[in-house]
């Protein structure tokens, strides 16, 4: 018999309308089961059960302080840095509960990349920024580093702009360029998942549009989870949307459906701007 490998056989729809309603449940890359995150006593994410479908863009929305960043950072265990932060339930990536004690956190983070709210390139050259991750993986050879840097920058739609100034300090780039550089830096280790925490909130509209286009291009190649406060953005770029409120997952659905025909009253109130 043919063995099904669920991660590989999802047919990626060209248009959002083509996505079947049940697709995410069938082909998840990341699965949260009754997953909670605590900061000391307070429960910032409460027993969330959801899937992040493979190869698609999932948006997480919700009012400020509802736990979006906390959930996102839990996926590549960045919360480990915060003293007093614990988790409950399961968070499964590629069939493994990533909070098991014998998980290699560094390896996990290489496969789940992250882009932060404020562009945070290292104060190094453009080249060194992108090459940082591959170097950690042990690639020292200049030639292959060059290839990786070029490929990553091209994927992040930045190559044409910076190919002549790879040696310049990355802090000299514009804000939008810096953010795309950060995306390129995350792509350079060839992750499976890309987490983005409000990646455009510090950028001007033009740079925002470029990043959104970029997300559109990366869609299908990477599983992307994006946190955003901008409802239009969520509607534009994502296939699925999760709505969080006070740590609870209120609704999770195909983006088109969630925005046009929300199943919950709270969701409707939020997306119509009645609170939050």
């Amino acid at each position: 018999m043919v063995v099904t490998t669920p991660t590989f056989d999802l047919v990626v729809p060209e248009r959002r309308a083509d996505v079947r309603d049940d697709a995410p449940l069938e082909h998840p890359r990341i699965v949260a089961r009754e997953f909670s995150v605590f900061y000391g006593r307070t429960e910032a994410v409460v027993k969330v059960t959801m899937n992040f479908p493979h190869g698609l863009v999932t948006a997480v929305i919700g009012p400020s302080g509802c736990g979006k960043s906390t959930l996102l950072r839990a996926i590549n265990r960045m919360n480990d840095l915060i003293p007093g932060c614990r988790t409950g339930g399961e968070l499964i990536f590629d069939g493994q509960d990533i909070y098991k004690p014998n998980v290699d956190v560094a390896a996990l983070r290489q496969r789940i990349g992250m882009v932060f709210q404020k562009p945070n390139p290292f104060p190094k050259s453009v080249f060194d920024n992108v090459a940082y991750g591959p170097r950690i993986l042990g690639i020292q050879e200049r030639g292959s580093l060059r290839d990786i840097v070029e490929r990553s920058l091209s994927r992040a739609a930045l190559w044409e702009e910076v190919k002549d100034r790879l040696g310049d300090n990355a802090l000299g780039l514009s804000g939008g360029q810096q953010q795309r550089l950060c995306i390129a830096r995350a792509l350079a280790v060839d992750p499976d998942v890309l987490l983005m925490d409000e990646p455009t909130s510090a950028l001007d509209p033009r740079s925002t549009a470029r990043i959104e286009d970029l997300i559109g291009e990366l869609r299908g190649q990477y599983t992307i989870v994006i946190v955003t406060h901008n409802m239009q953005q969520a509607a534009r770029v994502s296939d699925f949307t999760a709505f969080l409120y006070e740590g609870l997952l209120i609704e999770f659905d195909v983006t088109g459906k969630l925005f046009t025909n929300p199943g919950q009253k709270q969701t409707e109130d939020y997306i119509t701007g009645r609170f939050g």
Binding site: V12, P134, R151, Q221
Partner: protein, 403 residues
């Protein structure tokens, strides 16, 4: 459906743009998500070992502190065993090399206290008012220009200060000490006199009936002004008469130590003033207070503990200073008469240690050697207490601000 037969479009697309150095190269280097039990044990052990090493290195400063206390204490103890406590703390007779030797350190403790007090009298008013000026009066650009002055004052080595005190300042003081003091009296006294005369006259006039007000003011101004001029003149004349026997005396050292303590006092109290916050000041200005009133009534009380910490740190700097006092204090182990007579030479703890160890080192084990460690223990205790006090004060200030 099988992954083999129908590779996902996702994967396909992913591979398409990548050239010869494909992403497989990266995947090849990738370790699996899970660590084997052995690897994880190894990793934990390595982490623990690394952490332990770092902790050990970090503890080195703690170890040094511990050793300092231990070694000073160890060598100080024999002195008290040999000579007892009484003489050391109560007698002023310091004859360590005569037979029988006498180790009365009271005058030396007093000398340290006197020059420290003198330094504080110089450094605190000057330093705090400079800090106020820096934080509240001067524009930002000026402040940036003045910072280096403070940094340079702090950077000049103490032996250079000592050399200045001994070679330049002491002869000056000896030649024209009286005249210099008289001049300083006028320079410092005149502004105080003018200001207090005007303010007092104003207050008196405020009490008088509206009709008499102008007259009262004029009379008060004249009377107070005359009093001040007379007083200053008498004081200056008397000071001008004084002949300074030796330029290497407590006054010289106090002034120089005061200048040396200035940078500490200025920077710590400026930090405290800055930390008092803008809202506080704006609240006061909003009530129509002038800048002086705001600073005196609101900002300085709020920054009080920070300024106190600055004073304590200044004391520490002055009391621990060696070279200046050794070179320019005259090194006479006696209490001046009267005790506040700054024009007489004094001897301090630090200078005694520095000066006597050279000879005492040859007689290791004698009371003469150990008495110096006893003095160092005294110094250490004082500076430790000051340090704890300043930390406590600062922490309290922080907590108050946080609350």
């Amino acid at each position: 459906m099988s992954g083999e037969e129908h590779p996902s479009p996702a994967r396909k697309r992913r591979k398409a743009p990548s050239g010869p150095a494909s992403s497989e190269g990266l995947h090849g280097r990738r370790s699996s998500l899970l660590l084997s039990a052995r690897a994880s044990r190894m990793r934990r052990a390595a982490g623990l070992a690394g952490n332990g090493t770092l902790l050990l290195i970090t503890s080195s400063s703690a170890i040094v502190v511990l050793f300092i206390f231990y070694f000073i204490f160890k060598d100080a103890l024999p002195f008290f065993r040999l000579q007892g406590l009484g003489e050391f703390f109560t007698s002023t007779r310091w004859y360590p090399s005569s037979h029988p030797a006498e180790f009365g350190a009271l005058a030396i403790f007093f000398g340290s206290a006197l020059v420290t007090l003198g330094a504080i009298v110089v450094a605190v008013p000057l330093g705090v008012s400079a800090a106020v000026c820096l934080s509240d009066v001067l524009p930002f650009g000026m402040r940036q220009a003045i910072k280096p002055v403070i940094e340079i004052l702090a950077a000049i080595p103490s032996v250079a200060y000592g050399f200045f005190a001994l070679v330049v300042f002491a002869p000056l003081l000896q030649e024209g000490g009286g005249r210099i003091m008289a001049l300083c009296t006028w320079l410092l006294g005149a502004p105080v006199a003018v200001l207090s005369t005007v303010i007092l006259a104003d207050l008196l006039a405020g009490r008088a009936s509206p009709r008499a007000r102008a007259g009262v003011r004029v009379v008060a101004l004249a009377a107070l002004g005359a009093c001040w001029v007379l007083g200053l003149q008498i004081l200056a004349a008397r000071l001008g008469q004084i002949e300074v026997a030796s330029g290497t005396n407590a006054l010289n050292v106090s002034l120089i130590l005061g200048i040396m303590a200035l940078p500490t006092v200025v920077s710590v109290s400026e930090d405290a003033l800055q930390a008092a916050g803008r809202e506080l000041r704006e609240g006061s200005y909003a009530l129509g207070a002038t800048r002086a009133e705001t600073i005196l009534r609101v900002v300085i009380p709020a920054a009080g503990s920070g300024i106190l910490a600055a004073v304590i740190l200044g004391v520490m700097r002055a009391i621990g200073e060696t070279m200046v006092v050794w070179m320019a204090s005259g090194n006479a182990a006696k209490i001046p008469v009267p005790w506040y007579n700054l024009l007489e030479p004094v001897r301090t703890l630090t200078a005694t240690i520095a000066g006597d160890m050279g000879e005492a080192d040859h007689v290791t084990g004698s009371a003469r050697y150990h008495v110096l460690f006893a003095m160092a223990l005294g110094l250490l205790t004082i500076s430790f207490a000051c340090n704890l006090a300043s930390e406590w004060v600062l922490r309290r200030a922080q907590r108050k601000r946080g609350a």
